[in-house]
Symmetry: C2
Subunit: 280 residues, 2 copies
DNA sequence: GTGTAGTTTGAATCCTACG
DNA sequence: GCGTAGGATTCAAACTACA
């Protein structure tokens, strides 16, 4: 029997991961994914300081005083290392024609952008998600924090052939070129996933419209989209709705259960199209 | 004769710098300024754009790109070192009650933000300057680059008593809490300073409205405002108009001449108030 | 002076395929 | 690797010219 070609092996390999949710450590799982195999990555990395004990501290020692300067620097350093690792894996698995999106706030986005540039990612845009309904600053000591930042980048400076659906985005913007400021409400109402007690499941669930813009602007139907910090699975949900394939990684078991239910409730794009055609 | 108190000495010292334009190397001059002596810093450092090719508009005309010597750095590393140095000095000379603003685009702002955090600056907000009339993306390969980012930070996490004129900013925003997204046109028209041939003097002159928001939100009348990369002196001009003191540093002699003329043409706040009262 | 049409320009990491 | 030809590509605001 003939040996499979390298290309076939790789193709087979990535297909093992496609349209699945992996309830595992993000970095560990990313390392299993073959080189140059995914078309789009959307990453909403954690920056909660509570995680620094378990996840980011390299020497496993206890971090005590939050106010301690040394500890703060050390925790920045640990966070940087963590981000460098997962971003490096993302760069490795990204196709030459692929692009990556990373979202964050001023707490972490500057560090992430700097690391991405240092790794050789080539920034295409920084997008400002302008929240139409942000939480006000109750004490009146700062400006209302009304934005989050997304960095859109290609694999490296030389990489050619990335997808940008210019005309489609133009349509979304009343026939005018889409700008880097996006006006989108925070996720609320029916879209916001709640548990039995009516409490929100995830503290920072991203609105589907945000992912719609991300996915429709920078991927084609059939493309493989990876989310290493899937949360409640908005990336997967929007990918499925628009006929993209998905690979979701999420460490938290509760979130993973939510993702499975959410994805199951979404009709496959092909079925939807078929049904839609019938009703015409 | 009695020796002047330390406080008096310092006060005398900083007064040597006040309401002056220094045509010198920024870092060198910053080092001469005493510790804890300025109330507000606005910095518009070189962006390190790294433009490589010419850009042509669809109508076959060439874009007049930023091609100034002062924007060229050999590497990210060289740029980082430069920024670390001037930011460190800024932190030293800032009062405990003072704050700093730094503006940039995705080319440099992530590196700057990361360095600021590492130095111990405490970020209060990231402000998005949304340009109402940005240059479009001519090739249709990216989103219109419609924003710049400002980082607003205090000296360190523990620093207390910074100025934030909440009620005034609220007035500017139709009675609602001012948000972190500011809608301001690019500097153009009469405000844009041109030379005898009608060519723009500075490639990146900032609009006065931007500085108005910065200065009125985070300083009091009589405060000392420093700009280490003064350019055409917008910071000084707005400071003078609103009764603040200024310290401007700008290496380029041509720019310095422009600044002197510009500041001389602006009436002193006290005179303006007196005259205004007379005419009532 | 007024209104309208045409021109200019702005911190930009701005293409792709084929020989 | 490089050079070249082909082909797709722009928004808002200020300014100028002219009726």
């Amino acid at each position: 029997m003939k040996r499979l070609s390298k290309n076939m092996e790789k193709k087979k390999d990535i297909n093992k991961f496609v349209n699945k949710v992996f309830c595992e450590d993000s970095l560990k799982k990313l390392k299993e994914i073959p080189d140059n195999s995914v078309d789009l990555i959307f990453a909403d990395p954690p920056y909660n300081l509570q995680l620094k004990n378990e996840l980011w501290r390299p020497n496993q020692t206890k971090v005590d005083a939050v106010n301690d300067e040394w500890d703060k620097y050390e925790s920045f350093e640990a966070y940087d290392k963590f981000c460098e690792k997962w971003l490096k894996e993302c760069q490795r698995i990204l196709k030459e024609t692929g692009t990556i999106w990373v979202i964050g706030t001023y707490h972490n986005i500057f560090r992430i952008g700097k690391i991405m540039q240092d790794l050789g990612f080539w920034i295409l845009n920084d997008i400002t998600w302008v929240k139409t309904n942000p939480m006000p600053n109750f004490r009146g000591v700062r400006f209302t924090n009304a934005t989050e930042t997304l960095i859109w980048a290609k694999k490296n400076e030389q990489a050619k052939g990335y997808t940008f659906n210019y005309q489609l985005m133009k349509k979304f913007n009343n026939g005018k070129q889409m700008r880097s400021d996006w006006y989108i409400p925070i996720c609320n109402g029916k879209e916001r996933i709640k548990d039995k007690e009516g409490k929100k499941v995830h503290s920072t669930q991203k609105p589907e419209k945000l992912l719609k813009y991300v996915i429709l602007s920078s991927s084609k139907e059939g493309d493989i989209i990876l989310d290493p910090f899937a949360g409640t699975g908005t990336t997967g949900a929007v990918a499925k709705k628009y006929g993209r394939k998905w690979i979701l990684i999420e460490m938290d078991k509760n979130y993973c259960k939510v993702i499975e239910d959410r994805l199951n409730s979404i009709q496959d794009r092909q079925e939807w199209l078929a049904e839609h055609q019938k009703t015409i």
